[in-house]
């Protein structure tokens, strides 16, 4: 449709998701498969921050949201903006930083210890600071590491997306919390200022959930399409595609499917 005259037809499904999900390229394999299974629907992905994605759902401007911030998602459902939350997949965060590793994150037993070392040594850390899923995960790690509110010249908040924040960390040789998908897709375009120092800690678990927007609050919403999309993501077919994605390009899957069957 380039020639489409305007107006969203009832067959369109608007997905509000995060930039990291879209930029990872996952949708490029998911959508054709979904549209093949449901030829009546066409999916449009609006990639924004998790905060904005939920807001779009709240304002009825998305039919379904796919984000990664479990607590905010729960609240979204409790507030009756969404019908039900379903876990779809997870990937993990990694802690990246300069090879010199002044805080010794490399040798830390777990992520929260690495964070508290960074704070103690006042080593440069770049935070997204944008209330995204990643930012919320980061804040939890600070608390767990005994740092209530990180502040000082060493702690810089960008208010930007994952890609931008990672690039800033790369340029400034600072520590950063980054999701694996973004890291893998961007690492070749960085200047080599940061490497992965710590991964595999259960605290670095990054859960994604899908929530159809509540048609009772938003009558204009494409409820059937949203439900179909959410169901399909959780279906063996959807889960399979998610599990495959990235094997070819990066030698490992970017996301691990974990929908309850």
């Amino acid at each position: 449709g380039d020639g489409q005259a305007g107006g969203n037809s009832t067959s369109d499904i608007i997905v509000a998701s995060t930039t990291s999900t879209k930029d990872s390229g996952l949708f490029d394999v998911l959508l054709p498969a979904f549209e093949q299974a449901y030829p009546d629907y066409r999916v449009k992905v609006n990639a924004v921050g998790t905060g904005e994605a939920l807001k779009l759902g709240e304002k009825c401007d998305a039919d379904v949201v796919l984000v990664h911030s479990p607590e905010a998602e729960e609240k979204f459902v409790t507030d009756e903006f969404g019908t039900e939350r379903r876990e779809i997949m997870y990937n993990e965060f990694v802690i990246a930083g300069a090879g010199a590793d002044p805080a010794g994150a490399d040798t830390a037993p777990d992520a929260s210890t690495a964070f508290s070392r960074i704070a103690q040594t006042r080593s440069g850390f770049i935070s997204r600071g944008d209330e995204s899923g990643t930012h919320k995960a980061e804040k939890k790690l600070w608390v767990k590491g005994g740092v209530l509110t990180p502040s000082g010249v060493w702690y810089r908040s960008t208010g930007q997306g994952m890609g931008e924040t990672l690039r800033i960390a790369d340029e400034t040789r600072s520590y950063v919390l980054v999701d694996l998908g973004t890291w893998l897709s961007m690492k070749d375009s960085l200047s080599g200022g940061v490497i992965v120092l710590l991964e595999g800690d259960p605290d670095l678990f990054n859960q994604y959930g899908v929530i159809p927007v509540n048609p009772e609050r938003c009558p204009a919403v494409n409820a059937r399409g949203a439900a179909a999309f959410a169901d399909w993501l959780a279906s063996p077919e959807g889960q399979n595609i998610i599990g495959e994605y990235g094997q070819e390009q990066y030698g490992r899957a970017l996301f691990t499917p974990n929908a309850a069957q």
């Binding site: 449709g1 380039d2 489409q4 305007g6 107006g7 969203n8 608007i14 930039t19 879209k22 930029d23 449009k44 992905v45 609006n46 990639a47 304002k59 009825c60 401007d61 997306g161 890609g163 931008e164 690039r167 897709s185 961007m186 070749d188 375009s189 960085l190 938003c218 204009a220 919403v221």
Partner: protein, 228 residues
């Protein structure tokens, strides 16, 4: 590096998808600037010629409009077109029409401001001359337009320049949907975000080439007024 990008840009031109993105950019911004000209030029002539109390304030407001931040414009248009907004029932959000609307809001103050200033610069004698030969109100405005041709070309070029290069508004109300509302700037932003700098640069170069071509055509149409 830059040479590489240019080579890559040329390579990209072979892809149908890139062409459709370019065409969409031109279509959206071209429509917006055309509508902005149709609104802004007559209104600008009117304000430029009229003398009324508070005119200075109106001019100041117009000039201020040149500083409208695209994201804020995008946000406002978004709120209006949102399903929960006043015009939600029109279902225009995330369509090309929405993008045209947002860019229109950005282009109109620029076209208006440049037109008002151009018309204001016409010596009083010229308008008196037209009046003395029997020009009515509308005809006076046309005479003024004719005198300020050079300015009007500039107004349109500057307006087009502002919006075709703009990304904040168009991203917010268009959604950057692949194959539907993706334009050059939103694609550039996405590519750069992914770390595809070369691709971003290449698209930037294509955008500028198009602007240059449009600009050349426009000068030619105006009978070389820009080169006098």
């Amino acid at each position: 590096m830059f040479l590489d990008s240019i080579r890559q840009a040329l390579g990209l031109l072979a892809s149908a998808e890139v062409w459709s993105i370019i065409l969409r950019s031109v279509e959206v911004s071209g429509t917006a600037v055309a509508v902005a000209a149709v609104i802004g030029i007559p209104l600008g002539v009117l304000i430029g010629l009229a003398r009324f109390p508070g005119r200075g304030a109106v001019v100041a407001v117009i000039n201020t409009g040149m500083a409208l931040p695209p994201v804020v414009v995008g946000l406002i248009v978004f709120m209006i077109l949102s399903r929960s907004g006043p015009l939600g029932s029109l279902q225009l959000l995330y369509t090309k029409q929405a993008m045209v609307l947002a860019q229109l809001v950005l282009a109109v103050p620029l076209v208006l401001g440049i037109t008002v200033s151009g018309i204001g610069g016409i010596p009083r004698e010229v308008l008196m001359q037209a009046k003395s030969l029997g020009a009515g109100r509308l005809q006076l405005a046309l005479a003024a337009l004719n005198e300020a041709k050079l300015t009007l070309v500039l107004a349109i070029i500057a307006g087009m320049g502002r919006i075709i290069a703009e990304v904040g508004a168009v991203m917010m109300v268009g959604g950057n949907f692949k194959g539907e509302t993706q334009v050059m700037t939103t694609t550039i932003l996405e590519e750069v975000r992914k770390g595809e700098y070369a691709l971003g640069l290449a698209l930037g170069i294509i955008l500028l080439t198009i602007a240059l071509a449009a600009n050349a055509v426009m000068s030619r149409i105006q009978g070389g007024v820009m080169t006098r």
